[in-house]
Amino acid sequence: MNILICLSNVPDTTTKIKLVDDNKNYEKTGIQWIINPWDELALTRALELKENADAKVEKVTVITLGGKEAEPTIRKALAIGADDAIRIDAEPQDAFFVASQLAEVIKKNMYDLILCGIESSDYNGSAVGGMLAELLDIPSVSAVSMININGGEISINREIDGGKEMVSVPAPLVTVVQKGIAKEPRIASMRGIMMAKTKPLNVVPAAPVESLTEYAGFELPKPKAACKMVSPDNVKELVDLLHNEAKVI
């Protein structure tokens, strides 16, 4: 079984967003770039599965659509343990553009199990995984919190609104993963970092694809009014405020 993980290269989650170019863009220099947190968990789970002999995973590949500046993030994934990597050389435009580019590459060399994260922490699209599955015309399972492979069967836990379901779906398929899929993201060892330098990172050109949406500009949220403080000796006042002023209880 071959596993592919779609990695999105995103600003570190603590980044302060600064708008530039008349709010048409955000400041991209001086930012720490990381593997999107869910994609990092997906990679961790794929490596755990590879180490489990019953799962019979031969190879774990990572793929990113992005410019050359995404390469340190890709190398990090290789250092954590991915076997090889693909970079599609283009700037992400929208989810459809990204998914179409990924689909073009994947079609040429199909994987059994494709993992995407539930959302990128930059544009919060929650879109690429499902779009990719539709473009490849294969099943998808969303809100996945567990994946096991046993005797060629892939069993999955997914969250539904109001509970959990255990499902099984034949390969090839896309799973869109969320919290729970792995406990803690794995970190690269010194040896891993050394080995990553010699692992294959194949750069492929982009296909001609049009985006369906466009980011016209950004706005920052309005600053919040100061917090109204209530004395710890007068908890009742808080309840009164919530009841009479905010009218929420």
Binding site: T14, N124, A127, D161, K179, S211, V239, I249
Partner: protein, 323 residues
């Protein structure tokens, strides 16, 4: 022309979430000079379906059929695409919940329709079709232009006011053509979270962080939540430690919620935590450190020891409820 809206029922009943969706679709249809058509999958009685009319659906397509009791993303996408074609939909609205996130991207590709997820408002302009969504986990908003004729939108939960109208909807059966080979998802087991208010549905959420010190101290949090008819939540380290179930974890890597009231107790207010709760209408913070960042995000705050304040809070809420 129409605006199609996908509603979900739970054991034959609609939740507020579906009425929000229909209200939104109704208003969007008004802007576009057309009407809203709701799609309901599964066995729902006609008087329950009719409720969708009261929030603005002009027509309801009721889809019944074998195999539709469990979500298969390809099958459901195919049903929705067929409904969109029949109704000549110019927009399709789904919830930004687990099901909506599973179906909307597939539908977007099938209809070649630009997708904007997690919207909270109606479009700011129709030409070009421009709509605002949160990005960077709430640290900014983006204005997204949809370039295609058909638009797919997912609506964030609890972000749109219900709109009640005098209206009787037409109910029609809708038979989708589904290729048997499309069913590939086998559900082996279901675990339902029975009897509790769902965190994503709750209008009031009481949440505890590491400042609660031990899982044994959660009694008053649960009591407060049930007293207020709300749900309980927690910060990530609390669920990582196994003090509380993972399903309660809110924040960037957990659930993203927008209740009317979020009470954060012993939570420092890290940026990743706020990413999941900052859309709450009101935030209350209880923390013994007056410098804790949670007070920057809160509307009301008390600096003090949670163990002392919680019992008093429970008592005061009891009194207000009794009065």
């Amino acid at each position: 022309m129409s605006v199609l809206v996908y509603t979900e029922n739970w054991e034959g009943k609609f939740k507020k979430l579906s009425f929000e969706l229909v209200s939104y679709a109704g208003k969007l249809a008004e802007m576009l000079g057309t009407s809203a058509v709701a799609v309901s999958v599964g066995n729902v009685a006609n008087d329950e379906l009719q409720k969708l009319g009261n929030y603005g659906a002009a027509k309801i397509l009721s889809v019944k059929g074998t195999g539709l009791d469990k979500l298969d993303n390809q099958v459901f996408t195919s049903v929705l695409a067929q409904a969109a074609a029949q109704e000549n939909a110019v927009a399709v609205v789904l919830s930004n919940n687990n099901t909506g996130k599973a179906l909307a991207p597939r539908l977007s590709v099938k209809l070649r329709a630009g997708l904007v997820s997690g919207v909270t408002q109606l479009p700011s302009s129709l030409n070009p079709f421009t709509i605002t969504k949160k990005v960077f986990s709430g640290k900014a908003f983006a204005n997204v232009v949809v370039k295609t004729e058909i638009k797919v939108l997912t609506l964030a939960q609890n972000s749109f006011e219900l709109v009640q109208v005098e209206n009787k909807a037409v109910i029609q059966d809708f038979n989708a053509n589904i290729d048997a080979g499309l069913f590939k998802t086998t559900v082996k087991d279901v675990e339902k979270q029975a009897g509790k208010v769902l965190l994503t549905d709750a209008e009031i959420v009481v949440s505890g962080g590491r400042g609660m010190k031990s899982p044994d101290n959660w009694g008053p949090i649960e009591e407060l939540a049930s007293l207020l008819g709300g749900a309980t939540a927690c910060s990530r380290p609390v669920s990582d430690e196994g003090w509380r179930p993972h399903s309660e974890h809110t924040g960037q890597t957990g659930k993203i919620i927008a209740p009317n009231l979020y009470i954060a107790i012993g939570i420092s207010g890290a940026i990743q935590h706020l990413a999941g709760v900052s859309s709450s209408k009101y935030i209350v913070a209880i923390n013994n450190d007056k410098e804790a960042p949670i007070f920057q995000a809160a509307d009301y705050g008390i600096v003090g020891d949670a163990q002392k304040i919680l019992p008093e809070l429970v008592k005061a809420v009891h009194e207000v409820k009794a009065s």
